[in-house]
């Protein structure tokens, strides 16, 4: 019996102690007609050995294509130490630190995480994680609506150049509370938020403006002006940032005159493997003023009976297990282990290391853009400055091009034509620090062939292959 330690003797003694004849008798309060039979549709148990074989085959089946997709999940180097430490049983198999004295390891680590995230984003306070970047944005919206004392509005301005799935998730999560996400257009030249469109909402009652940095196109927003604009119009400024970008870009806490009020995003670039999209973690930081509106766990430093420093869950009165229907959020289990990894990752990277990773990723994406746009008909779309990701337009159908590249084991980017049909055959490409010059050249040359074989005018074919 896998994972069950009971011997025959144990079972007998235990049943005797309870005073029943067999284990089934322990289920005698369940009405007979409800009892289920065998679970025939479930295959019989396997040994770890058999399952290793199966999972290896599954992993092999998916190959390991060369990846130039970013679009919210980025392939960065993760120091070997990160996951060797993170999966230590004491981290891996503990739970939420309800018993603080027996959980100082997790608690101190979370406090250190909060310290690092606030240092990185320039914000005052951080919670101990939310599910992922998209749901963190939804929580940020709810928080802003609760927190904005100046506004009674349940409307929030969301730029169209924010990650399309983030917009969908936020909508899914906030809509039942009658919160409305109102779309702001982007400038077709720069790719940044369209200031003219934004100005349509000047003076109106909105709870918040969401400001992505970079936005989904990789384009950098004029965050200072946008933040000031929000504040000038009685709105809170919600920053949605790539935390790796924060290593080199102006931190959200320093945007404009007063800084962003809330800063959230996807923590994945800080030590989480791509891993099919999760587990990652959402982070959420804010100004000190808003801390009591924060969702999720928060760890505070305090002292013990002897005055010795220690760490504990704090401000629990915000949370569902105390406040129930009046809680700031329903979140309970969060993404603790990913935060553990991120904390170790940031410690190993340090300020300088994280900046180098950001810079290398940025430089590689620049190289990639140059390589791709050297091909006839491939053009870079926006002229605003970018961070480590960029939109390029192809001279052939984007979906066909990507499919053809995938057949050559290159994942060429994210197809924008579904979400942004107005951009034509545009794709979003990214090359992190892990992509070498050879990788980039491999992509370029394969795309060259793909284009050549799909473009109708044969004169564009290069002769040498």
């Amino acid at each position: 019996m896998p994972f069950i330690p009971h011997t025959e003797d144990d079972i007998e003694e235990m049943l005797a102690a309870i005073g029943v004849d067999n284990i089934d008798a322990l289920f005698d309060e369940i009405p007979d007609e409800l009892r289920c039979g065998e679970l025939d549709a479930i295959p019989p148990g396997m040994s770890e050995m058999e399952l290793s074989r199966l999972m290896q085959a599954r992993a092999r089946a998916d190959g390991q294509p060369l990846c130039f997709i970013g679009a919210g999940a980025y392939d960065h180097h993760i120091p070997a130490a990160v996951w060797e430490l993170t999966t230590r049983g004491e981290f891996y198999t503990a739970y939420t630190p309800y018993q603080a004295e027996a959980s100082q390891g997790t608690l101190q680590l979370l406090y250190e995480y909060q310290s690092m995230m606030t240092a990185l984003t320039g914000m005052d306070v951080s919670n101990a994680s939310l599910y992922d970047g998209a749901s963190a944005l939804a929580e940020a919206v709810l928080m802003a609506v609760r927190a904005n004392r100046k506004s009674k509005s349940k409307r929030v301005l969301v730029p169209r150049n924010l990650h399309p799935v983030y917009r969908k998730v936020a909508h899914t999560i906030v809509r039942n509370q009658q919160i409305e996400l109102v779309e702001v257009a982007y400038d077709s030249g720069s790719g940044g938020i369209d200031r003219a469109d934004l100005d349509r909402y000047r003076g109106e009652d909105y709870a918040a403006l969401i400001i992505p940095q970079p936005n989904f196109f990789g384009v950098l927003e004029a965050v200072d002006e946008l933040t000031d604009w929000a504040h000038a119009n009685g709105m809170l400024a919600i920053a949605v940032v790539n935390p790796l970008a924060m290593a080199v870009l102006k931190p959200a806490g320093e945007w404009g005159e007063q800084g962003a009020d809330i800063c959230c995003g996807e923590g994945q670039p800080l030590g989480a493997p791509l891993a099919s999209g999760g587990p990652y973690f959402g982070f959420l930081c804010s100004t000190q003023k808003l801390v009591r509106q924060m969702p999720g766990r928060i760890i505070g430093k305090t002292v013990d009976l002897d005055g010795k420093p220690g760490y504990a869950l704090t401000l629990q009165a915000r949370e569902q297990h105390i406040r129930r229907s009046k809680a700031t959020s329903n979140i309970c289990t969060n993404q603790g282990l990913m935060v553990t990894a991120a904390t170790i990752h940031m410690s190993l990277m340090g300020s300088e290391g994280l900046q180098r990773v950001a810079a290398a990723s940025h430089a590689n994406s620049d190289k990639l853009t140059h390589a791709l746009t050297s091909l006839p008909g491939v053009e870079s779309l926006f002229d605003g400055p970018v961070f480590h990701e960029r939109v390029v337009r192809l001279p052939i159908a984007a979906n066909k091009a990507l499919r053809a590249l995938a057949a050559h084991n290159v994942l060429g980017g994210f197809d924008l034509s579904d979400d942004y049909p107005e951009l034509g055959d545009a794709i979003l490409v990214c090359a992190t620090e892990l992509r070498s010059e050879d990788d980039i050249e491999s992509y370029r040359s394969k795309l060259e062939r793909v284009i050549a074989s799909q473009v109708e005018t044969p004169c564009q074919l290069k002769p040498d292959w």
Partner: protein, 481 residues
């Protein structure tokens, strides 16, 4: 504190590119003008720091951890290893289906397994934890009523014993909540339920076995009452471990359920997560399931998204939820197989009933002494609190000194001075016997040297912490010495 070892210019040099690339294509006004303020330490310092920190935790791998409602059972190491095969870790979430058949096959089979064990019609794996599953479930209930134009239903019923996430999730879906009392026998007060039901009722959220650790015997009747009133039934799957292979929420009449894979399917709790909270639904709610889901057309696995499922309640995360957690659950489910599922419920129930019996024999008071325990049970220490001035928190802290993680304390709130004890099926009898002995010893200490217990713990890295100060003099991040 990690920052205490930080020195300007120190680095874990091997971990970043050896040179700093040019950033001049970004306007300097957009760049930060200070370093980001992360700790500056060597690789060894980091390893040593976090290794030492880890040793300051209780965990399943080191201690008996009978934390009620949380199902702290053994997390097979293979689940981690096999979900972490290099190919699986490297897969980008937006990789095309052609490069995803292995991964999607695991998800699809997991969906099927979960359907079978819960008796539900369809399953979506995407919620990231139990509470997100609850949100998704209640949102589906809402979408269902809305689609029928039945828009006056604005209330969700929750038992007073319910977990805090239940009312909080209902509120996130725009509902009001109304509490239903628990009867003295631990079952729901059906009379009260009846009087609470009405045209305003959107649904009810239940766990069964409930958070008081007993099986709700009148569940069929309750289901009928709620359905008759036009409401739907939500099943909080936190306690699924107790009934795996014995009775299925679908058969009890539930319309929607979430599972906590980090409980029943033994994915690690990770010091607070990640979890996974798949939702299962009856046929009428099937169109509303959150996307993405995985389908199989007989030869290939396919993603189902908003395109294929226009009535979906939507998306809950940027990609497909906590995929790595789902893979761990899949491995676990395949290791157990169909026989293993039954045994989970059998032995977790055996352990709970044995432990309860032995504790009662030792003089402790059960909250529901006449009921079978499910996979967990509640002790109430109100006698000790009253007579000896030693309360549940004191017992809990003293347990730590004896090398046992405390059971859940003060939940559910309706039982005074309660300890919710869930031993799980993976603990051996000796461990349970040892727990009984420790509890007896603490009880004796409470009688003879109550201060010892009230001042506990004595052997942890810190003594009892000042929670009031933590909340009053907020120190939430290091700001230099």
């Amino acid at each position: 504190m990690i920052y205490e070892g930080s020195r300007k210019g120190r680095r874990a040099t091997a971990q970043a590119p050896l040179e700093k690339a040019d950033l001049s294509s970004i306007p300097s006004a957009m760049l930060r003008d200070s370093q980001p303020g992360l700790p500056e330490i060597s690789e060894m310092q980091a390893v040593r720091h976090f290794t030492r920190l880890s040793q300051k935790n209780f965990s399943i791998d080191t201690h008996f951890y009978p934390l009620g409602s949380c199902t702290m059972k053994y997390n097979p190491r293979a689940c981690n290893t096999l979900a972490s095969l290099p190919g699986l870790l490297a897969r980008h979430p937006l990789a095309p289906e052609t490069h995803s058949q292995g991964f999607m096959g695991c998800l699809y089979e997991l969906q099927e397994i979960l359907k079978t064990v819960t008796g539900m019609y369809a399953v979506s794996l995407t919620p990231a934890a139990g509470a997100q599953g609850e949100f998704a479930g209640v949102a589906m209930i809402r979408a269902y009523h809305d689609d029928r134009g039945d828009t006056a239903r604005d209330e969700i019923l929750v038992p007073d014993a319910a977990h805090g996430t239940n009312p909080a999730s209902a509120v996130m879906c725009g509902y009001k909540t109304r509490e239903i009392p628990t009867g003295d026998d631990g079952d729901i007060d059906v009379a009260a339920l009846k009087s609470a039901l009405g045209p305003q009722t959107a649904g009810i959220m239940l766990t069964n076995p409930s958070t008081v650790g007993v099986f709700e015997r009148r569940i069929k009747e309750i289901a009928e009452l709620v359905h008759d009133a036009g409401g739907l039934l939500y099943y909080d799957g936190a306690n699924l471990n107790a009934i795996l292979g014995k009775v299925r929420p679908g058969d009890m009449g539930f319309d929607v359920i979430h599972m906590n894979l980090h409980k029943t399917f033994s994915t690690p709790h990770g010091g607070g997560g990640p979890g996974a909270g798949p939702v299962g639904v009856s046929k009428r709610l099937e169109p509303y399931l959150p996307v993405p889901m995985v389908d199989f057309d007989g030869s290939d696995y396919l993603w189902l998204t908003e395109h294929e499922r226009p009535q979906t309640m939507g998306r809950l995360s940027a990609f497909a939820g906590n995929a790595g957690v789902l893979l761990r659950a899949y491995v676990y489910a395949r290791l157990l197989g169909r026989e293993g599922m039954h045994r989970v419920a059998e032995f977790s129930t055996l352990n709970a009933n044995y432990l309860l019996k032995r504790l009662m024999d030792a003089g402790f008071d059960a909250a529901y002494p006449d009921r079978r325990a499910s996979h967990e049970f509640i002790l109430t220490l109100k006698r000790q609190a009253k007579e000896l001035g030693v309360n549940t928190m004191d017992f809990a802290k003293r347990l730590l000194d004896y090398g046992v993680h405390a059971p859940t304390t003060y939940f559910p709130l309706l039982v005074p001075e309660c300890l919710l004890v869930e031993p799980t099926e993976t603990e051996a009898k000796e461990e349970l016997d040892n727990f009984v002995e420790i509890m007896m010893r603490i009880n004796q200490e409470a009688e003879t040297q109550p201060e010892l217990v009230k001042q506990a713990p004595h052997t942890m890295p810190v003594r009892r912490l000042d929670d009031v100060r933590a909340a009053r003099e907020l120190d939430l991040a290091w700001r230099g010495d």
